[in-house]
């Protein structure tokens, strides 16, 4: 490979932000103090994630996670932790629905305008819609998060 070789063909799916969050996740920590936790497991590909949540007021104070899986699942977990911080539970659920829609279809057409900003932050993951079997990599941490909000121990598989 010549040093001038560009990675455009790879980068259109794995944008810099994914590589970055996949390589150096900021929230990949087991919270010492937490109010809820749940696991997600995708036996089909071996991806595994655990999410811890600390609530603040009636919203989400902080999210930490431990993940074993591909760059997309780790980056998704990290972007999720970053994005949901400070949101209400209701907001978070709505955001998950919107994000899942985007992961499956590439866009979020029916998205509430109030979600425009967080969806924008999650948008680098939208490319997975081209690979339906990888959509779960991106949504698995969210399933675990929602399970934790629901008081469940495990995310039920889709």
């Amino acid at each position: 490979m010549s040093p001038s070789d560009s990675f455009d063909d790879l980068r259109d799916l794995y944008q810099e932000v994914i590589l970055d969050h996949g390589r150096k996740p900021r929230h990949a920590i087991r919270l010492e103090e937490f109010d809820a936790t749940a696991k997600g497991d995708n036996p089909m590909c071996g991806d595994r994630v655990q999410v811890w949540v600390k609530f603040a007021d009636d919203g989400i104070g902080r999210v930490g996670f431990e993940a074993r899986g591909c760059a997309i699942s780790v980056a998704s977990a990290d972007l999720m932790a970053e994005t949901v911080q400070g949101r209400t539970k209701t907001d978070t659920r709505a955001l998950f629905a919107a994000f899942r829609d985007m992961a499956r279809t590439g866009t979020c057409q029916a998205c509430d305008p109030s979600l425009a900003e967080p969806i924008e932050r999650l948008a680098p993951l939208s490319g997975v819609h081209e690979y339906p079997s990888r959509v779960k990599c991106a949504t698995l941490p969210w399933h675990a998060l929602i399970a934790a909000l629901d008081g469940a121990k495990e995310a039920s598989s889709e």
Partner: protein, 414 residues
């Protein structure tokens, strides 16, 4: 039946153009194919869909992380959506693909029969079943202590509904497994009434729709049945694929039938766990090309529309029954009120095998034999019949050719 109306709604000449095989000649005579109930011919769109898959995007499905595999998975899974829509299933995950109807019924006899039914319970079939809806239940009876009850058939070739209801009286019946249309008599069974009676006695209902789905719009929610099976090759699709529809809550209660790749959630030597329905019932590499072909066949049928197909076949059947009634020595088996385009008959002067062979000499393909329904043959004191059956491409002229051919056979044997 006003033939003119049909000609407007249904252009059989144009339809025939869709089927390359109909241009064939047999011994220099144009092919008159009257054996669609055994297996239907394939329209170009089905052939093309399979070819296109093999030439442009073939790969194994599920869990392929590359473009072709993802596209093939989508195409294969689109067959499930099309099937669910065709039958008006509540949920695409209620559609299980099998190898054929026989595979579907065996799946049910194993997974529901051994997995849910308890020894001492009974299964009711009818006296006009195809062997594929008899033998699996016999095997279940012998292996699992399930009683097998047979609802009798009237002289007219209909289900004896009083006798049927009586079989359910004692509340022991766990499942009714009955044909929705006889492949011998053409009889359409009163599905809604069967379901009402069965459900009133706590029994689930499976219909063998192998023939019915070719002739009638099937709406499993309107029928209110619990399982419905059919086979792709009779609905203008490829061989190698069949369908079992089942209510999701029942499918979820059933253990898997075959084990292997694609049907698991996780595997360890101690214990394996199963994938969600429908994949739990689909072990190994599925019939990918066949699913893609079936999707094309379903689209084809939907484009023509069941209304037009049923009207065309009703007109053909009426014509055939009228004309056959005019041939000396021909006896048609069954006179059901509600019937589809399948007609069995005998000829006084000739054995049905000779009839079939001698019609073939004239380019006319009919089936002869017991049609995989020996007990029904015995019910009518016969060993075999000849059978003509119709598809979307069948013409009134072909029925006339059959009648002329029969007259010749009879003269020949005089």
């Amino acid at each position: 039946m006003n033939v003119m109306t049909n000609l407007v709604a249904f252009d059989v000449t144009r339809i025939r153009d869709d089927f390359p095989i109909l241009k064939q000649t047999i011994r220099g005579k144009p092919l008159v194919f009257l054996d669609s109930a055994a297996s239907a011919q394939k329209p170009r769109v089905v052939i093309d869909a399979m070819v296109q898959a093999m030439e442009t995007q073939y790969a194994n499905v599920h869990r392929g992380l590359y473009w072709m595999s993802e596209r093939t998975t989508e195409a294969y899974e689109a067959a499930r959506d099309a099937t669910a829509a065709l039958m008006n299933a509540n949920n695409r995950s209620e559609i299980v693909f099998t190898g054929n109807s026989t595979g579907a019924i065996n799946l049910l006899a194993h997974s529901y029969g051994r997995g849910v039914l308890r020894p001492g319970q009974a299964v009711v079939i009818s006296g006009m079943e195809h062997h594929s809806n008899i033998v699996p239940w016999q095997m279940l009876r012998d292996a699992h202590g399930i009683e097998l009850r047979v609802a009798p058939v009237t002289d007219a070739g209909e289900l004896d509904m009083d006798a049927f209801a009586a079989l359910l009286e004692d509340g022991k019946v766990g499942l009714v497994a009955i044909t929705h249309m006889s492949n011998v008599l053409g009889t359409i069974t009163p599905a809604e009434r069967i379901v009402k009676i069965a459900h009133a006695h706590g029994a689930k209902v499976m219909f063998d729709g192998s023939q019915a789905i070719v002739h009638r719009k099937i709406d499993v929610q309107a029928l209110d049945c619990d399982f419905y099976v059919w086979t792709g090759h009779k609905l203008y699709g490829p061989t190698g694929i069949g369908v079992m529809w089942g209510r999701k809550e029942l499918l979820e209660r059933m253990p898997p039938f075959m084990g292997g790749g694609d049907m698991i959630s996780s595997v360890s030597y101690e214990k394996s766990t199963w994938a969600a329905v429908p994949h739990k019932f689909e072990a190994g590499t599925p019939a990918i090309l066949e699913g893609i072909g079936l999707k094309a066949a379903i689209d084809y049928v939907q484009t023509i529309g069941y209304g037009a197909m049923a009207a065309h076949e009703a007109s053909l059947t009426e014509h055939a029954l009228a004309r056959l009634a005019g041939v000396d020595g021909v006896r048609v088996l069954g006179q059901a009120q509600d019937r589809g385009g399948v007609i069995s008959f005998t000829l006084d002067k000739a054995h049905s095998h000779d009839v079939a062979t001698l019609l073939d000499r004239q380019g006319i393909a009919v089936r002869a034999g017991h049609h995989c329904a020996e007990p029904l043959m015995r019910r009518f004191d016969l060993d075999s019949t000849a059978r003509a059956s119709f598809g979307v491409y069948t013409t009134h002229a072909e029925i006339d050719a059959l009648v002329d051919g029969l007259v010749r056979v009879r003269e020949f044997f005089q």
